[in-house]
Symmetry: C2
Subunit: 149 residues, 2 copies
Amino acid sequence: MSNEIEVDQLVTSQLEAVGQRYTNNRRRLISILLLSSKPLTITQILEIDPSLAQSSAYRNLTALEEAGSVVRIVTSDDHAHYELAEEILEHHHHIICSPCGEILDFHLSESVERTLEASLKKVADQLGFTLDTHRLDLIGTCTSCRGNA
Amino acid sequence: MSNEIEVDQLVTSQLEAVGQRYTNNRRRLISILLLSSKPLTITQILEIDPSLAQSSAYRNLTALEEAGSVVRIVTSDDHAHYELAEEILEHHHHIICSPCGEILDFHLSESVERTLEASLKKVADQLGFTLDTHRLDLIGTCTSCRGNA
DNA sequence: TTTAAAATAAGAATGATTCTCATTATTGCA
DNA sequence: TGCAATAATGAGAATCATTCTTATTTTAAA
């Protein structure tokens, strides 16, 4: 799903399902996230498009999150990061640089992913949990932060 | 490492290594976390021992985190959770109930854990990251929250 | 003991996020 | 097309977890 038109159709129906409209501001947010290769903070989003109002950006990202189009990523960093949901981007994981807070996406091989999911399902069952998703983060230091050490 | 004396010795040396003392307040925090079967928020910690000052609890948990004795767990929940570091508790993962924010620990089988770690190491190398740790969270709904739905 | 350095605790300050509310845009309907 | 009724917007205020400040107390070592 790299095509903006397809994405727009999906987001439209996701928003509709929760009684929300796909407005211009929301389109701009989706478009910014689609063009980015990595999760962005609100600050970064507002730098990319300074015409967006901060309060509206927060509100709209929350609406898009409730619709299931956007995911909010919380780390030890002060700022939350936002990216398109897996229904749009594909299932993936995050590698986080703890010095600078930068987040990159990565994929695990199909087979490792399947093994993992089977184990996780078993654990959730034993604990009586209904599973929505899992989250796998690598925490370390990126090349450029290592250089500055 | 379930023995409080052993834990105290380890924490003492961990604090010492970063030039910090193992004071009474810090002992109380470690003891509270040792007695808890799950990660606690500051609020919960202060409820367990109301004689602790909030500002000191924050400062001391940060000191203990810098020493590597305590880990701060950040989720979508408003409050961070704290638990003893893996050097004390053993490597494990978290299952998070998104409605109520509760966090429980779980373990993965040795073999799954090894498979996973090998893959993660490879990914980090490819991206030029130095890895500190990984974090695997399950997100879902616990039995009692499901009951209230 | 004395003293210098570290820890404590109370409250103030910070800052990301959320809320409020007056204004503007959009939708459905006559 | 025109008109409510409803939803979205944006500016700034409010919230609240966390961090900072500072005066006081505790600790460790000589």
